[in-house]
């Protein structure tokens, strides 16, 4: 078999992956601009669903809540995660390896189970349901991502730079601010964007922890679909997809996610 043939098969394979990943999203995006409520063809362009969205207070409130919960989650998770990554990089202490290993399973545990566990736990300790619980849950989910991304960036950091700064009289905080942070900044930004995406796209944990009155956008969409499907959902979903993809593209730009460029 010639190399050419193999590379054609490879291209076909890649094409199919991209097709099955993006085709449904594309259909949804296209239909959000279709005037027909029942996906009727031929396609006739309309921005009606987007206009209706603007008048839908319920969706707008949920969207706004999703955004600020994501922002708070991002700030907390990025700060905690970056500090943790620096501490893991800088210090040797007993139990460090165990701690590092324990960071990963939450990424793999199904969110449904994490959500249930959090709900039971939060009721047990008296936090209960509500926006604070949602934020704590989101931070817990986002934290490992931040730590992993920042740690990856730190692995390219030359330790002797910190030693040089200390030898010049810099305190731990001056070392971090003047030398370490500037170097890992792209990783911190990428980690923050991950945290934002994890929170903004979060359904399961939000569904379990939010009070019925103040749902986030994904929870609201789910409830709306159960009542009956409208193309408004297509419209709002298209917006979410655009935001999420934008964030991930930015994150990929700042970290070397998906390989060296």
């Amino acid at each position: 078999m010639s190399n050419r043939f193999l590379s054609r098969i490879g291209l076909l394979y890649l094409g199919m992956i991209l097709f099955f990943l993006y085709a449904p999203i594309l259909v949804m995006a296209v239909m959000s601009f279709n005037a027909s409520e029942f996906y009727q063809l031929p396609f006739s362009y309309s921005t009606e669903w987007y206009e209706r969205l603007q008048r839908n207070d319920e969706i707008l409130t949920a969207a706004w809540r999703s955004v600020w919960i994501a922002i708070i989650t991002t700030i907390i998770a990025t700060t905690l995660g970056t500090s943790a990554a620096i501490a893991l990089f800088r210090y040797e202490f007993t139990g460090k390896r165990v701690l590092q290993v324990l960071l990963f399973p939450p990424i793999a545990i199904p969110w449904l189970i994490t959500g249930t566990a959090m709900l039971i736990f939060f009721f047990g300790v008296g936090i209960g349901r509500g926006t604070p619980a949602v934020i704590i849950g989101h931070v817990a989910l986002a934290l490992p991502y931040v730590i992993v991304v920042v740690t990856a960036r730190l692995s390219t950091f030359d330790r002797s730079l910190e030693e040089a700064a200390r030898s010049l009289g810099a305190s731990a905080w001056q070392v971090t601010r003047g030398v370490t942070l500037p170097w890992i900044l792209p990783g911190v930004i990428a980690g923050g964007l991950f945290a934002f995406a994890v929170s903004f796209d979060q359904f399961v944990v939000s569904y379990f922890l939010a009070e019925p009155g103040d749902s986030t956008l994904p929870v609201l969409i789910y409830t709306a679909i159960r009542k009956g499907f409208t193309p408004e959902i297509n419209a709002v979903s298209t917006i979410i997809i655009a935001i999420s993809m934008g964030i991930m593209l930015l994150a990929a730009r700042f970290s070397n996610f998906g390989g060296e460029r």
């Binding site: 030898s167 003047g178 030398v179």
Partner: protein, 343 residues
């Protein structure tokens, strides 16, 4: 400036002793070279003085104050790292000014001191460059300027020239010595390059397996190394062994080296002569020529004596008349005999 002293320093990593009871004083304003093969503990000693290594026991003095409980950033040291460790996000001037900035020295004074330091290392025009825009030698100078601008009490250099190519390294050795003399700072530097240590230092210390086995002025240590390790490590040495007798050392081939009390002696390659005929000197051996290496100004002859390799170094013209192979005579004068303690 200050005298530096370490007393009974011990540092172990698991089973290995990186520092094994090291006691040493570094004279105020002196240039001290710590020399040893890799794993000898020389870098650990330097890092213990800097404060990056916390010894298991023992004391470290900078000036009169003991600093075992002082963190690195409070020890008032200047350090140059093997890879220079310049901050990549800062310009040359910002790198040099960093130590002043963390001391809250700003404005006119900082600008002036940074300028003076860059002047001293002859890098004035480069202050706005980033480290990646500099050559190896220039980075080395920036690292020096950054280390001395805070007027530290001691300057610590960790293999500062090992990343440079040979020609540049010799230039930088002269440069380093000039800067050190100009500011008169107590300087301790670590190297595995014995030539570098001999060139730069006014005192050297030789470490092996975490122990300080010899220290003193380079010339004294070179001419009287006392033990085989030092003799071989500092320069090259031909070691000749035998059995000590009443009248001297009876070498393995039966030759007698009179007035020697030890079981072996060392003779530097540059102090041996090769002659086709038996010389008058009482210190002479029969050896077999193996190879003659021409290397420009100096040449090296490799010989075989009782199964041991003997090297002789001299101006190539001095080897005139020496056959390329076959038996020859080796000889040296009495004062070239170095007695080597056993063990």
């Amino acid at each position: 400036m200050a005298e530096i002293r370490v007393e009974n320093l011990i540092k172990t990593y698991g089973e290995a002793r990186a520092l094994d009871n090291v006691t040493l004083a570094f004279a105020d304003g002196g240039f001290f070279g710590l020399l040893g093969p890799s794993g000898s503990g020389k870098t650990t000693l330097l890092r213990a003085i800097a404060g990056f290594v916390i010894p298991d026991s023992g004391r470290v003095f900078i000036g009169d104050s003991s600093v075992e409980n002082t963190p690195v950033e409070k020890r008032e040291i200047g350090m140059v790292f093997q890879n220079y460790a310049l901050f990549p996000n800062m310009t040359v001037a910002e790198n040099v000014g960093f130590g002043l900035a963390v001391r809250k020295i700003s404005g006119q004074e900082r600008t002036q001191r940074v300028r003076d330091a860059l002047e001293l290392v002859q890098l004035g025009p480069y202050s706005d460059r980033k480290p990646h825009q500099l050559s190896g030698g220039q980075r080395q100078r920036v690292a020096m300027a950054r280390a001395i601008v805070t007027k530290p009490r001691v300057l610590l250099l960790d293999e500062p020239l090992s990343a440079l190519d040979k020609a540049l390294r010799i230039d930088m050795q002269i440069e380093l010595k000039r800067i050190q003399r100009e500011i008169g700072i107590t300087t301790i530097f670590v190297t595995h390059d014995q030539e570098e240590a001999l060139t730069l230092s006014d005192q050297i210390g030789i470490l092996k397996d975490g122990r300080l086995i010899r220290h003193g002025a380079p010339r004294d240590v070179y001419s009287d190394p006392r033990d085989e390790f030092t003799a071989r490590f500092l320069g090259e040495a031909n070691i000749l062994s035998g059995t000590p007798e009443e009248k001297g050392l009876r070498l393995r081939d039966g030759a007698l080296i009179s007035k020697v009390k030890t079981g072996s002696i060392a003779v530097r390659p540059e102090n041996m002569r090769i002659t086709p005929a038996k010389p008058k000197s009482p210190n002479c051996l029969r050896a077999e020529m193996r190879q003659r290496i021409f290397a420009g100004a100096l040449g090296t002859c490799v010989l075989d004596w009782q199964g041991d390799v003997i090297k002789v170094v001299a101006r190539d013209s001095d080897f005139y008349g020496v056959p390329d192979t076959g038996p020859v005579w080796l000889s040296w004068s009495d004062d070239s005999t170095i007695e080597i303690a056993d063990g």
